[in-house]
């Protein structure tokens, strides 16, 4: 069954429908792989074996009954940030240890409606705060391409699990690059859709105005299939947008002849890894080879993105994380003498260092007397960043940038230097601030054999364009097919 490794959702779906393989067999195959390889990688916080096999059994029955969900019988891994009824959901934090949601996130409901199989909960940075999956309370996740290195973050578990074939595809979340950056560092496809395209209901909030949900897949076609399953209006989210969702698979193989692709000059800065710079040059050539024209564009407020992000995201987080107080669910230490003591003990012991750092930054930024100088100013600059993109998209159909300035770095390398860590997301953060969609696709390897990702960006609700350009790129870039040696 080794060839299952090579297969995409599209291919496996056909095997399932033709009864060449059952969902239970498939699920057992991945459960076996997880047992074999996840000891080294640790992409899963928890494998829900029994639950998975039950879902697989149900899927097989449905297949026998002639039903045909888009993900019927497909084993997926889920970032541990989506409330799932009856399944412990922790956000990789001690403070939510033992929390079993009484309800399903909209995305989980949609996946269930499509007949997916829930393999387990994927590791992440605590509350999605990080770029390396080193801040999880449940331990670090390692990059399948080099176990000494991080897989990126915060959705590191989701990226590593797909790269290591511990699931066919997975779901992650992206607040400042948390899908695209680990996708690049693990050599898989990762998409952050437009803000408002995929429902956030049931996604445990980090920064509400930036959080989006998206898939990790082996190729762009699978990304389109996953998007078809998860995108769409949700009346339970006020910021969800009631727009029709196209069939994203129709954008595969359309080609990009005559397109203009913007290359933002501000994104080709000093400090980019030389191998990534070379890969980007090759990417530009590939895009032009596809009949598109690459044009230099400017996103003049790029230099403020990181500063704006590190005010808005922590400010929202400081409020979003206030509910973890030990009163209702999750972790509460024993032996508190009064209410204030209980709050202090719960939050001191329940949250990790990075989460506390961001709560403090956010609390400060919102404090009386500082609000105007920080949060308000940041919101104003954010509007300018958004305008940069609106103007840029009058000149081009899509934008091409590197996903990350560096390939996967060593475990521990940036843990003591938060600023260096924050720079990992320098090319991905603006997308979230503007609310536009972005996709990272593999575009080669460094000399040391580490994957490199290219990022494409498009205007609001133009995920179809991203599928179109990314699938064309994938087909013609002639990226060497490699698998991580496990």
């Amino acid at each position: 069954m080794e060839d299952i490794l090579e297969l995409t959702i599209a291919q496996i779906r056909e095997l399932l429908q033709k009864r060449k393989i059952s969902s239970v067999e498939l699920t057992n195959y991945f459960l076996e792989r997880i047992k074999r390889f996840d000891g080294d990688i640790s992409s899963y916080i928890k494998v829900t074996e029994e639950y998975a096999l039950k879902m697989a059994g149900d899927a097989d029955k449905k297949i026998a009954d002639g039903e045909n969900g888009q993900l019927l019988g497909i084993p997926l891994g889920i970032k541990d940030i989506y409330c799932t009824k009856g399944i412990e959901t922790t956000c990789a934090s001690r403070i939510l240890k033992g929390f079993i949601p009484p309800y399903d996130a909209t995305i989980i409901r949609r996946l269930k409606d499509e007949g997916y199989v829930h393999l387990g909960r994927l590791n992440m940075d605590e509350f999605a705060m990080g770029s390396s999956t080193e801040t999880s309370y449940f331990g670090i996740t390692r990059n399948p391409w080099d176990l000494e290195r991080i897989p990126g973050g915060s959705s590191g578990g989701s990226a590593a699990a797909v790269a290591a074939d511990e699931c066919i595809a997975s779901i992650g979340s992206d607040t400042g690059g948390s899908i695209r950056q680990p996708a690049a560092l693990c050599g898989v496809v990762g998409m952050k859709p437009t803000y408002g395209r995929v429902s956030r209901f049931g996604l445990i909030a980090f920064a509400s105005s930036l959080d989006q949900i998206g898939p990790f897949t082996k190729d762009v076609e699978d990304c389109a299939i996953m998007m078809n399953a998860i995108a769409g209006y949700d009346p339970r989210e006020s910021t969800s947008v009631p727009l029709n969702v196209p069939d994203y698979t129709e954008f595969i193989s359309r080609g990009i002849g005559g397109w203009k692709v913007g290359i933002p000059k501000e994104y080709f800065i000093e400090g980019i890894h030389p191998d990534i710079e070379k890969a980007m040059q090759r990417a530009i050539t590939t895009v032009e080879g596809l009949g598109a024209t690459c044009v230099e564009i400017s996103l003049p407020h790029t230099e403020y993105c990181l500063a704006v992000y590190y005010i808005i995201a922590p400010a929202e987080a400081s409020s979003n994380l206030a509910r973890y107080d030990g009163v209702k669910y999750g972790f509460r230490p024993q032996g508190s003498i009064d209410l204030l003591d209980m709050y202090k003990k719960t939050r001191s012991a329940g949250f990790g260092a990075e989460v506390k750092r961001r709560i403090m930054i956010g609390t400060y930024a919102l404090s009386s007397g500082y609000y105007d100088a920080y949060y308000k100013k940041a919101s104003q600059v954010r509007a300018l960043i958004k305008r940069d993109f609106t103007e840029a998209f009058t000149l081009c159909d899509a934008i091409l940038t590197p996903t990350s300035p560096t390939p996967a770095f060593k475990i521990g390398e940036k843990m003591d230097d938060p600023l260096q860590m924050y720079l990992s997301d320098i090319f991905t953060i603006s997308t979230n601030l503007a609310g536009i969609p972005g996709i990272s696709v593999p575009c080669g390897f460094t000399k040391d054999g580490l994957p490199i990702g290219a990022q494409f960006l498009a205007g609001h609700f133009e995920e179809g364009k991203l599928i179109q350009i990314a699938s064309a790129f994938e087909k013609y870039a002639n990226i060497e097919k490699r698998r991580p040696a496990l």
């Binding site: 949601p101 006020s238 206030a322 609000y371």
Partner: protein
Amino acid sequence: MPYEPVIGLEVHAQLLTETKIFCSCSTQFGAEPNSHTCPVCMGMPGVLPVLNRKVVEYTMKMALATHCRINEACNFARKNYFYPDLPKGYQISQYAQPLSEHGYVDIELDGGKKRIGITRIHMEEDAGKLLHDEHLPSSYVDLNRTGVPLIEIVSEPDMRSTDEAVAYLKRLHEILVYLEICDGNMEEGSFRCDANVSLRPRGEMMFGTRTELKNMNSFRNVQRALDYEIKRQQCILESGQDVIQETRLWDDSKGETQSMRGKEEAHDYRYFPDPDLVPIVIDNAWTEEMKKSLPELPLEKRERFIRDYQIPPYDAGVLTSSRALAGYFEEVARLSGKPKIASNWVMGDVLRFLNEEKRDIKECPVLPGSLAEMIQLIEDGTISGKMAKDIIVEMYRTGKSPQAVIEEKGMIQITDEGTLEKTVAEVIAANPTQLAQYRGGKEKLFGYFVGQVMKATQGKANPQLINELLKEMLAKE
């Protein structure tokens, strides 16, 4: 030195929507703890709020009824603080951009009118309730109330006495209940009031240091707490000390205010726009629609009653104190065609019966049609006013029509002159002493004879006829 109090009030009114402001749980009061909750109002991880449109509409009604300007766009903000009755760790409220601003209501005191400014009216969610164990050091959290919609009505510091403050509060209460957007129940907490009070030397323009008073759950307590606090601050100022800016709680049993927290301990709520909710845009069409849905408000109604029904201002005030009572009265007035008389019966007998039993006009067993019929029976002389006083008691007791009561009791008025003449003659004959005195000039005794005739006829005689006959018969030898 004579001091002048400066008072501003913050009123919280629970709205009578069926469901909560951001989820579809019931707002019903008094249910089993935590039975009206869902992941959204319990503040579970990952949940998101969706605004109940009715809340916006009810708030718009109050804003329009108090002459506020409705902002074309407003938004929700998060008010961040930790407390176990606040499951999200923040309250969704409005801050920089409230739904409405710059309104007023008029109050009346000792015949004079005064306009009290309203700074703003905004929407927010209520918090839950804590129940403290009497024996164990434990507390229990009930989240049924969490997410029940509230409006906060903030006044300008325009009130200069406790009486003005109470009059303002009663006016707001009346309007809210009239609009049928709040039940106004202060004991159950659906109408709550906090007060800001300061004193300044009379004639001084600058405000003094204020204290904020909380926990006053009746009009009487608002009155008592304000009176107490004004005296307390006066004593401090007169002794040459400074009032400390702080929040004070009214202790009903002790009849005093006590310090709860000082300025230093005041929360920094770190307000910021709630990213989970989108701005609310209110266009003219929506505002117009709400304007059309407004009922006649108490003040307008009262003026109309005085003008159209020619009833005294006091009576008009009582009759318009609730929409149901005003409606009851108007129905009686219309059916009887005698508004002034209708007013007397409603104000007098009907309200007295109801008040004795603490019943609402909506539960009144005497239907407006019955009361109007009774008034007509008096008018056409079928019964006397005095008989009616007994009949209405029976009508109230049994819910029967006046005709039915009269028939059962055989209470038809004696209007036959011949019959009555005979009785009058008998009465005169039976009271020779009084007759002599009367004729000797003691005219007051006329009433005595009327009473005797009434007694003899068991009150059924037509009083006018008795008068005429007595005058005639007492005069002649």
